[in-house]
């Protein structure tokens, strides 16, 4: 299956990482890599999550992430695979 990366802008707050990874876990999608950094504005963090899935999974993940209260922005990055 295709690798895909999702970039997120989220609240810099306890429990937020749990909510986001829980969304992957519930559907049985493994997270291959995860980066989290506080942004220049300490209210927010930026995340980059790499996982595997077809177009259906990618669409679902992005749309479900979008619904989370602590997620301020989400974007599917360009294809990671060569």
């Amino acid at each position: 299956m295709e690798k895909f990366a999702v970039e997120l802008l989220v609240s810099n707050h306890y429990g937020v990482l749990n909510r986001i990874t829980g969304l992957y876990a519930r559907r049985g999608y493994n997270i291959d890599s995860l980066h989290v950094n506080e942004t220049e504005n300490p209210e927010y963090s930026r995340m980059l999550i790499v996982s595997k899935g077809d177009e259906y999974i990618q669409t679902q993940i992005v749309r479900q992430l979008s619904k989370l209260y602590d997620v301020k922005d989400v974007a599917l990055m360009a294809r990671v695979n060569p």
Binding site: R19, N41, Y44, K67, L68, Y69, D73, A75
Partner: protein, 598 residues
């Protein structure tokens, strides 16, 4: 004005227009209950027998009023007892605000007495949940909880408030939540969801997954700002023009309506659309009551145990307008056959539902009322005589079996004859629920309380209590069964102490009928653990609780009981029916309309 946390909660509840709450006190929520005591003239608290019953009551209250129901519980077991009720509200998109106490902040995370991580536990079944750790955030958090629960796609929100926060005080000014992300897909901004003009920071739902460059996260470190782009014409709503063209060209239109119609208040628009297109309407269970029962093109529920004409018409249409539905597996059966050879237009407020279960031909993300209004303006009138004749023919095939005797159908109809369209009717889960959907002539919008997505046995009595209170404590009906009623019958105590006129009809067959029906059909009649073999005397039990109790074994007995019910108290009527009564029609799980058994 300096107020304690408990006082702030009460002030915020009042500011939200809350007049009735459901709950159960306990150690870590004592400060709030002390304030509720002092404010009994402003907020009525309904004490349940068990926290689960209180959540179902808040859920029933919310379904009838359309406003968030409120349930309050203490920490630990009080909080965990809410979980089923919260999950039930989540799966049926019911607005609910649950407030739980928790141990004081210094005791959090130490496995203190009655401490659980209720925020962690409920995370997968809420729209959002909060722990309040700072008193100055309390007012905003409560206000925000109500906003989230009642905007966009409705749902439950939990607020966990440690006891120390309830006791601390701070300066209080009435705080209103700011318009947040739900506004991007709400009524006033339908269509913004995919509009490139929308600010990416304000509407994460804008991310067009087909073109990843559309909404770069890179620009958004600034504070999120809302820029509602008012959508005023068809061109600005993706999918709308295509939908208009497809509907204009179709020959056999069918409307599949769900709970989104009721949530959005689009009943009049639905009727107008059906009338304009001469399109028959079938419903998901959540969509029932959105059209008058006697409307000619109302075919009733479709799906696994739907009406024959409704399911077959859905299969024979060449265009399906699906509004406010999520294509549950119970409603679609096998998805490929469900989709074959037809155009499906899917209208839903939740972008994540678009393409999740069924990949429709045309998708419109927006509020049902808003989208239907725009469709109505643009669509031509249609009247396909041969399609309408076919619908009539299907209705004739379906017929109306007129078997005499003490059958579920006759019992349900006898009860219905004595009630009006504004009677709230609740059900539990199982065969009696499906019979109610099939045979009870549905009344006004929001008068049906039933557990759709979660299928919660034990939902009914709590829901009936909440629904009865929401409907000015008028006569309310609960159809239940010996199995379901056995799960939460302790709430009879609540109905008695509240003096609620709830008529409880137990369709008592001595078995777990729907599971038994599956065992009969798919497990070669091995009735594993579905024969209850109990000796419960329901009329005596009802009397022990202080309610009226009766047993009926034939129609005449039942009619006499129904004509002589006492006023101002719940009454239980134990109706003994045959254990081999089955729910038909049935489309077997994963099957298609071709497999329908009727």
């Amino acid at each position: 004005m300096e107020l304690t946390g408990a006082q702030i909660i009460v002030e915020q509840l009042c500011a939200q227009g809350v007049t009735t709450v459901f709950g159960y006190p306990g150690g870590q929520i004592l400060p709030l209950y002390d304030e509720l005591y002092k404010n009994a003239d402003r907020i009525t608290h309904v004490l349940s027998a068990h926290e689960q019953g209180a959540t179902h009551a808040a859920d029933g209250y919310a379904r009838v009023t359309g406003k968030p129901g409120v349930v309050i519980a203490t920490s630990g077991p009080g909080a965990t007892n809410l979980v089923t009720g919260i999950a039930n509200a989540y799966l049926d998109s019911v607005p609910l605000v649950a407030i739980t106490g928790n141990v004081s902040i210094p005791l959090l995370g130490k496995d203190s007495f009655q401490e659980v991580d209720i925020v962690g536990i409920t995370q997968p079944v809420v729209k959002h949940n909060f722990v309040v750790r700072e008193i100055d955030k309390l007012a905003f958090t409560i206000s925000e909880a109500f906003r989230i629960a009642s905007s966009g796609r409705r749902g439950p929100v939990l607020v966990d408030i440690p006891k120390s926060i309830q006791v601390e005080s701070c300066e209080y000014a009435d705080v209103q939540a700011v318009s947040g992300k739900d506004a991007t897909i709400d009524a006033d901004t339908a269509g913004e969801a995919a509009s490139p003009a929308a600010s990416p920071a304000a509407s994460p739902a804008t991310s067009d997954v087909a073109s990843p460059a559309a909404s770069p996260a890179t620009s958004a470190a600034a504070s999120p700002a809302t820029t509602p782009a008012a959508a005023t014409n068809a061109a600005s709503i993706p999918g709308l023009e295509q939908a208009i063209e497809a509907i204009s060209q179709c020959e056999r239109p069918f409307i599949y309506a769900g709970g989104g119609i009721l949530a959005s208040g689009a009943e009049a628009e639905l009727l107008a659309l059906s009338d304009k297109l001469s399109a028959p309407v079938g419903f998901s269970m959540m969509g029932l009551t959105s059209l008058p029962d006697n409307y000619m093109l109302n075919l009733g529920m479709c799906g696994m145990h739907g009406k024959y004409a409704s399911s077959v018409a859905q299969d024979e249409c060449d265009l399906m307008i699906a509004i406010g539905v999520r294509f549950s597996d119970r409603a679609t059966g096998e998805v490929k056959a469900f989709k074959h050879n037809r155009t499906i237009i899917h209208i839903d407020i939740d972008l994540a539902e678009i393409g999740k279960n069924v990949a429709a031909t045309i998708n419109i993300c927006g509020d049902a009322k808003k989208v239907l209004t725009m469709l109505l303006d643009a669509l031509p009138e249609k009247h396909n005589v041969s399609w309408l004749e076919r619908i009539e023919e299907l209705k004739q095939v379906e017929g109306s079996p007129q078997n005499g005797g003490f059958t579920p159908k006759n019992i349900i109809e006898a009860v219905r004859r004595r009630h009006s369209a504004d009677t709230v009717v609740a059900t539990d889960v199982g065969q009696h629920q499906m019979w109610t959907m099939q045979y009870y002539k549905m009344g006004n919008p929001r008068t049906l309380l039933t557990s759709g997505g979660l299928g919660t046995m034990g939902y009914g009595l709590g829901a009936a209590i909440g629904g009865c209170i929401a409907n000015d404590r008028k006569h309310t009906v609960l159809f239940t069964s010996d199995g379901s009623f056995g799960m939460n019958l302790n709430e009879l105590a609540t109905a008695v102490s509240q003096e609620l006129p709830i008529l409880i009809i137990i369709l008592n067959n001595g078995v777990l009928g729907l599971v038994r029906q599956w065992q009969n059909m798919f497990y070669e009649k091995r009735y594993s653990q579905t024969t209850l073999n109990r000796k419960t005397d329901f009329p005596a039990l009802a009397k022990a609780f202080g309610a009226a109790g009766y047993r009926a074994t034939d129609m005449q007995q039942l009619e006499d009981i129904l004509d002589g019910l006492p006023a101002g108290m719940p009454a239980v009527v134990d109706c003994h029916i045959d254990m081999d009564e089955v729910v038909l029609p049935m489309i077997p799980p994963g099957g298609t309309v071709k497999d329908i058994i009727y």
